[in-house]
Structure formats: structure tokens, C-alpha cells
Amino acid sequence: MRLMRRDLIAGLATLAPLTAAGHLWAAPATSARLLVVFLRGAYDATNIVIPVRSDFYHASRPSLAIAKPDPAIATSALPLDADWGLHPALRGTILPLFKKGQVAFVAFAGTDDLTRSHFETQDTIELGQDVKGARDYRSGFMARLVKTLTQPKPIAFTDQLPLTFQGGAAIPNIAINNVGKPAIDARQASLITSMYDGTPLAASVHEGFQVRDDVYHAITDHMLEANRGAVSPKGFELSARRIGQLMKDQFNVGFVDVGGWDTHVNQGAATGYLADRIGELGRGLAGFAEEIGAQWNDATVVVISEFGRTFRENGNRGTDHGHGSVYWVLGGGIKGGRIAGEQVPVDQAHLFQNRDYPVLTDYRALLAGLFQRMYGLDQSGLQRVFASVQPKNLGLL
């Protein structure tokens, strides 16, 4: 099925090459859907995708370590392969998808930004530019991706437009957990739009009214047909389920962020604060897969975070700012069920600066590799998204 789609795209590309600004552009697969999920605050990857065979892990985290896999113990790690285990809070959500081959974890992933600043490194990732060069804050990598695709329908499911969508045409955003019946009626909307005519905000205002109506109808229609008496989900699960409905046929490039991962104090282990947060994330992602329906097979969800946390626990049963992280790639059509990317043994000798995971897979190389396969982008297309980055093909698509 996947192969056929790719062949079709290749065929299309030769039949109807599109030119813009003097470049020959490849025709991307319009069926592909991309959702980027940004865990802001640097989630403690080490306690979610757990190096279960590493004695050094257990020694470094006397109060935080998750027990080695043991079917008899509910709070132990869930085996993923011989070296890695999954946090038990993901038992009913992510583990089944992993077993179906629809989730892959990319270990030792991250950036070459060494500030260990949340905000600086989030900006680095969202911009996707060379960390050594001067920054252009009006050019996020997802905005550049959108410009490279021929039929993009982008949207940020956030109450503010994220940096990654800044630059270029107005990209809509919507506070997905706060969708109400619009009170500004069509006549007022048209008068307001007329006041902005010819101003820099004209496109943003026009787009806003359009998306407002589309999203409201999509969500309320769905609620009417599906939510009879069911317990309604909250928090990220509610967001993610709505995103699934909207990305089924209205939008194909999405971004959402989830906060609350900066666990310096009492983060908990198999249960506790971090377990609750990751459990909610798992329910959300599984809910997204359910709601998007058959289109799950064309969807690629990438879960990223600005950096990992210190390998050793700190003095307060928490963890401080680190370096390497573990990214997630999910989708009905991905070749998952495995830990992808280059790996090294998890021991003291292989820590970065004797405190953190090293970064062996660069986020841009990983994303470029995915975009190449998802959209059939050629080298020049990829270069427009991530200049001078060599895509890394981890065989996920």
C-alpha cells in the first residue's frame, strides 16, 4: 500500500512537475499528514524509554529508577527489546501501538545547542537553522516545509502561533481546548475584515474567520454523533482527539505543544508527577490514532523535546537540564516496533560531559529523512527546509 502511494507520487512528479520561482518542485504526497508534538520543558526521556539492562542507570537513580521488566510487578518497565523498556504508565496506550510496529523510539536524539536553556533550545529546534549562524526569527522550519509543499493545509493547535510556523504566509492557529460558538457574526466578520484590507494583518484576520468556522463545525458535528454519554476526555487527550478529527480531512501539517516536563523536584518513578504527565500524553497519542481513522496509515507523528535531563538524579529526587533525549515517531504506516538510530552503551564512559546522554541523531537530519520519504522531496526541496543538512534515513518510512 505504502509502496503504491510512493510510486504514484513519483509518477505524478514526472507527469506534472510544478515550477515556482524558477525551481522545479517535486509534487509531494497530498495524503501524507504530519503532526509535530513538542514536549516543552525537556521531558526526562531516560525514565520513559528506559535503559533496562544498564546497572549504571539503577545506580545513578536510586529513588527514580524504574524496576527491570518483570511480568509479576506492575510497576516495572515494559520490555521493548533486550536493552530498552517502556514506562509502565504507557502500558495500555503506546505499548500496543509499539507491538503493532506503529511506534519507533529514536534514542540519543537532539540538537547541537549546548546552552541547556529551555527557551534558547526550543527556539533552536523550532527555527531549524544552523546553531552557529545568525538567527532569523521569521523563518521557522515548519513554515519553510509548508512553503515547499504544493497542497499544504497547515495549522497550529496552540493558542499562540509557535515560532516554527513564523515566516511566509499566515498560518492559522486555534486554541484547540477552547472552541466555542463564535459570537462575531458573518456581517461583523466581513466588516472587520474590510477594516484590515491592505494592512499587514489582512491575511491573518481573513484566515482566522475561515478556520474558526471550519473547526467549530467539525468539532461540534463530531461531538453530536460520537459523544453520547461517554466520559469526555480532558487535557491533552481532548486536544489530541480533536486534532485527530481535524487532520482526518481538513489539515495535513499540524503542530501542538504540551508543557509541564521540567521536573527538577520530586518527579516520581513508576507513579507520581512524571508518570501522570506521560500517561496523559500516551492517552492523547492513542486517541489521535483512533480519531484520525483510516488516515492513520498516512500519518506521521513526531514527538520531540528541547533536550534530555541529567542522567543522574539530582539532590531533590528530580533531574536537571541535560543534553540527549529520545524522540518518538508514530504512524500506521511506519516501520516501528523498534529503537531506531545509532546507539552506544548506557554507562558512565559514554555520557556526554559526564552528565547527560550524548546526541547521536540530529533532529534536523531525522526530520529531513522523514520528510524525504513522506513527501518525496528532492535534495533542493530538503535544502529549503533544512539548509546544509544531510537527511538521515532510519528506515522508518
Binding site: R40, G41, T115, R116, S117, H118, F119, E120, Y137, R138, A156, T158, D159, Q160, L161, Q166, A170, I171, P172, N173, I174, A175, N178, P182, A183, I184, Q188, A189, L191, I192, S194, M195, Y196, D197, G198, T199, L201, S204, V205, E207, G208, F209, V211, R212, G259, G260, D262, H264, V265, N314, G315, N316, G318, D320, H321, Q353
Partner: protein, 511 residues
């Protein structure tokens, strides 16, 4: 098409019948205010209204500016606003008292044996904590709307955001009001170092950035990093991971103590103990090793190390640059001219961080004047300026609608989760989703009194009120700045409510 004259007449009719006491102000005697004066007042305050313009014109620009930069100590709010603030529990209890109140209630709640009753008690406790934070927001909003010391209020919001804490961490909901009042507002136009030290010694900051848990042998870098990255030097200004670690060690022992009795200490450490309200520097939790910070040796000595570290940070040109730039971004532009921020930083260095002097330099700069009325309003400025223009000095009795509007626009008071504070650049606030949400709120503010004049509680009576946007200031000044397209749209309004909604949605009111 709705004939304007008829509409204004109708509008005046509504005002006369609904609001007999609040007839539209007479336009100021003499020539109308210059658009530039309105723009200046609008930029420095939470929004131009008739009473502020009147004060500006009676004092003259320079005296008015100096009165804003150097307000007399104490509160100068109208009685109707001050009485509401004074009646709040959060105004009567210190952070120490509130934290102790809630701590003892929490202890009782946690000891209830029956799980359902325990959960119910904990739920009540949580709601009460939320209520205290909402009271703090009420006091803050009333000051923003009605304090004549408007610049002090603008800078209070700015510095809270610069030294941001989030209300939903631990017990911060009972601390944010005191933090804003005693750590921030008190120093908002004073010296930067005093402000930095006041935040450092406040339990809200110590809890939020985890320094309350930072102790010798239990190092937590969180606060140390953010002091350098966000509060003083700025990221990329040359400090290293070693500096972060050194500052973390210097800060060990600076924490919170709820207990009235002093901690048990060895005799030689007793004189190094510092206590002040909830703040405690506990020498037994401090790392007395010698440190090197930013290349300078700091001898292990206790709290004096923290004083030395702040001296170093505040004297650094990087701090002068970083802080000056943040202020200029807030008032002038997303990317303020370097020539302007350089002069502000120079003033900062020459005056040892005198905030009023730095602002004075900015207000008198040609770059500032040139940028008047170009700064896109963030949601807080948008909402406050709309309410100030609509009701002037008629004091609202319920701030909850305003709190809800700010939350809906994603810029709620005390509600930014991470220490970087809300973004100040326009691109954070002018996206499509932001604009449509803003228009919805324009409609709520413009259509009727929106609950602002109905006090909380079941049996309260709503005071008659109507948002009066077509007022003297509008006809005297604001009207002349409208584009032809905006005028054409306003001419098609079919009711005063509709006119208000469109005016508050116009591109001109966004700046």
C-alpha cells in the same frame, strides 16, 4: 448603512436612560489634545482615557512624565477602587500569614482518616488557594485600571513577567499577591539590584525555581541558571555551565522556613543565620567552599556570597544591555534600535541600575517618539486599554470577566508556566487565532457591561453601566487617526453595541 448622527443621538439616548449619572464628559475646554500627546499617554499608561489626558494637560508633558517616573510613596487610587482592594483577604494577610494559614489547614486535611472526606477537605483547600490568587489578580487589575501612577503599574506587570513565577506550582497561589506587592511593585521604578534581591528573598521565587531545595550535597541548578539567563546577563552573553554550577553552590541554603523557631545550628553558624518573613538563609544547608563566578573568586562566607554574586551580576555590562533591551522591546519595538538600547544601557551603568533613569532616557529619545502608536498591543494592554477607555474613572466592581478574557487570550495574570514570562514580540499575539479570539472579546467588552458592574455573590444587584467609547476623547482625538476603511466600517454599524465591537476590533485600536 446607519447614519452616524442618528446613531450618536441614539447612543446618547441610551446613556441618558441607562446611565443618568455618567453623562458623556464635556470635551476639554480649549483646543483638543494633540494626537501626539494622546499617543504618548497611551504608550506609557495602560491606555489613554479622558481623565489621564486631563491630568497630562494640566501638568504639562515634562511634569507629568516626572510624576509618572517618581510617584509619591503610597497608594493614590480613587476611594471606590481602594476600598475594594482593602477589603480583600489577600491585602490584609502577609505571605507568611497566608502560607501558615494554608499549611495548617493542609495538615488537618491530610490527617482525615476517611478518604472521601479527606479528598473533599483537600478540594476545599485547593479552591480557597485559587480564590486567594484571584483576589491578588483583582487587586492588580484595579490598580492597573485606576491608579494614577500608571507607569508604576505598567512596570509592575513588566517586572513580574521578567521575574516570572507561575501560580499553579505548589502553594504559589497564596504567595503571588505578596510577591507582586512587596517584591515587584515596591521596586518597579527603583534600583534593579534591590528588585533582584527582593525576588531572590521571596518565597514565591524560591519555591518556583526550586532554590528552596538547593542545599549542600543536594544541588539544584534551576534558579542559578535562570538568574543569569533571564533575570540578569541574558543567554549567550558569555557565562558558562561552570558559572551556573558556581552560582548554584553560592545559592545553597537560601530557602523558606515556615516554623517560628530557628533551626538548630552549631554555635559558630548561628550568627550566619538570616531570617525575614518566610525567607531563611540556613548556614547548615550552605556550601562554604570557595567559588569562582564569572572569573572572580568568591570566598565561602554564607549569605555575603549571595550579595557579592548579585553585585557582580548587576555591575556587568551584559545585564545593563539585556535589561535595557527588554524594556525597549516592551515599549518601543520587537527589535528596538541599538542606538536607543545602548544609551539606556549607558544610563543603567552610570546610575547603578536606576530603573526610573533608564526609562527617562528612553522616553526622551527620538527613537521612542518616532515609534509612538506603532507597538502592537499584547492581550493585557489590549483589554486594560479597552476597559479604561470605555469606563474611564467609573470603577468596576467585578474583575472576573477581565481575568477570564486574559486567560482566553493566553496572557492570564500569574499564569505563564515557564520562567521566561510571556513573549513581548508582536508575532506572539497577532496570529489568526489570536485575532479572532480578540474580536470575540471586543464584542463582549463593547456590547454591554459584561458583568463588570455586578459584584460577585448570589444576591448582588448589577449597577447600570454601558461602555462609553464614543466619548469626548474619541471626538477630540482618536477619531482623527482612523483610516478611511475603518471609518467606512464604523458608519455601517447598526447599533451602539455594534459600533463599539467594530471600534475595538479596528486596526487602530490594536496599537
Amino acid at each position: 448603512m446607519y447614519p452616524r448622527r442618528r446613531m450618536v443621538a441614539l447612543f446618547a439616548g441610551i446613556v441618558m436612560t441607562v446611565l443618568p449619572l455618567a453623562t458623556p464628559r464635556q470635551a476639554h475646554a480649549g483646543p483638543p489634545p494633540a494626537p501626539r500627546d494622546i499617543a504618548l499617554v497611551d504608550t506609557i499608561t495602560w491606555g489613554a482615557n479622558q481623565s489621564t489626558i486631563t491630568a497630562f494637560r494640566s501638568m504639562g508633558q515634562e511634569r507629568w512624565l516626572q510624576s509618572q517616573l517618581h510617584p509619591a510613596p503610597g497608594d493614590h487610587l480613587a476611594k471606590a477602587a481602594q476600598q475594594q482592594i482593602d477589603a480583600l483577604a489577600v491585602s490584609k494577610r502577609s505571605a507568611l500569614e497566608l502560607a501558615n494559614d494554608f499549611d495548617s489547614v493542609a495538615r488537618v486535611a491530610n490527617e482525615i482518616a476517611d478518604p472521601d472526606q479527606r479528598a473533599a477537605a483537600q478540594n476545599i483547600l485547593q479552591n480557597d488557594m485559587t480564590d486567594i490568587a484571584k483576589q491578588a489578580a483583582t487587586a492588580s487589575i484595579l490598580r492597573a485600571l485606576y491608579s494614577p501612577d500608571q507607569l508604576q503599574e505598567r512596570m509592575t506587570w513588566f517586572w513580574f513577567n521578567h521575574f516570572n513565577v507561575h501560580q499553579y506550582k505548589a502553594n504559589l497561589r497564596v504567595l503571588v499577591g505578596d510577591y507582586e506587592r512587596n517584591a515587584i511593585r515596591k521596586h518597579a521604578l527603583g534600583h534593579f539590584r534591590d528588585l533582584l534581591m527582593a525576588t531572590l528573598r521571596h518565597p514565591a521565587m524560591l519555591r518556583y525555581l526550586d532554590n528552596a531545595d538547593n542545599a549542600v550535597g543536594h544541588i539544584n541548578e534551576n534558579y542559578a541558571r535562570e538568574i543569569m539567563e533571564l533575570h540578569t546577563l541574558g543567554v549567550g552573553s558569555g557565562y558558562s555551565q561552570q558559572d551556573v554550577e558556581a552560582l548554584a553552590h553560592i545559592l545553597t541554603g537560601a530557602g523558606i522556613d515556615l516554623k517560628p523557631e530557628n533551626p538548630k545550628l552549631k554555635p559558630e553558624l548561628q550568627k550566619l543565620l538570616v531570617r525575614d518573613g518566610l525567607f531563611e538563609f540556613n548556614p547548615a544547608r550552605h556550601d562554604f567552599a570557595d567559588k569562582v563566578l564569572l572569573g572572580k573568586p568568591i570566598k565561602g562566607s554564607g549569605f555575603a556570597e549571595i550579595e557579592q554574586a548579585l553585585d557582580l551580576l548587576c555591575a556587568s555590562p551584559a545585564t545593563a544591555q539585556h535589561v535595557s533591551r527588554q524594556i525597549a522591546v516592551y515599549f518601543v519595538a520587537d527589535d528596538p534600535p541599538k542606538a536607543l538600547t545602548d544609551r539606556m544601557a549607558q544610563t543603567f551603568m552610570q546610575t547603578q541600575g536606576d530603573i526610573a533613569k533608564v526609562l527617562d532616557t528612553m522616553f526622551h529619545a527620538p527613537e521612542f517618539t518616532a515609534a509612538l502608536q506603532t507597538r502592537f498591543k499584547d492581550p493585557v494592554r489590549y483589554v486594560f486599554s479597552a476597559v479604561r477607555l470605555a469606563y474611564d474613572d467609573k470603577v468596576i466592581v467585578n474583575t472576573v470577566p477581565i481575568q477570564n478574557w486574559l486567560n482566553r487570550l493566553a496572557e492570564g495574570l500569574y499564569n505563564h508556566q515557564t520562567p521566561d514570562g510571556y513573549a513581548m514580540v508582536s508575532s506572539a499575539w497577532d496570529s489568526s487565532g489570536q485575532m479572532t479570539a480578540r474580536f470575540e472579546i471586543a464584542r463582549q467588552i463593547g456590547s454591554n457591561s459584561a458583568g463588570l458592574f455586578k459584584a460577585a455573590g448570589p444576591a448582588t444587584v448589577e449597577q447600570p453601566a454601558f461602555p462609553l467609547l464614543q466619548n469626548g476623547l474619541y471626538f477630540d482625538g482618536l477619531q482623527s487617526g482612523l483610516s478611511a476603511k475603518t471609518r467606512a466600517a464604523l458608519d455601517r454599524a447598526n447599533s451602539p453595541q455594534d459600533w463599539n465591537t467594530l471600534f475595538l476590533s479596528s486596526p487602530e485600536f490594536m496599537r
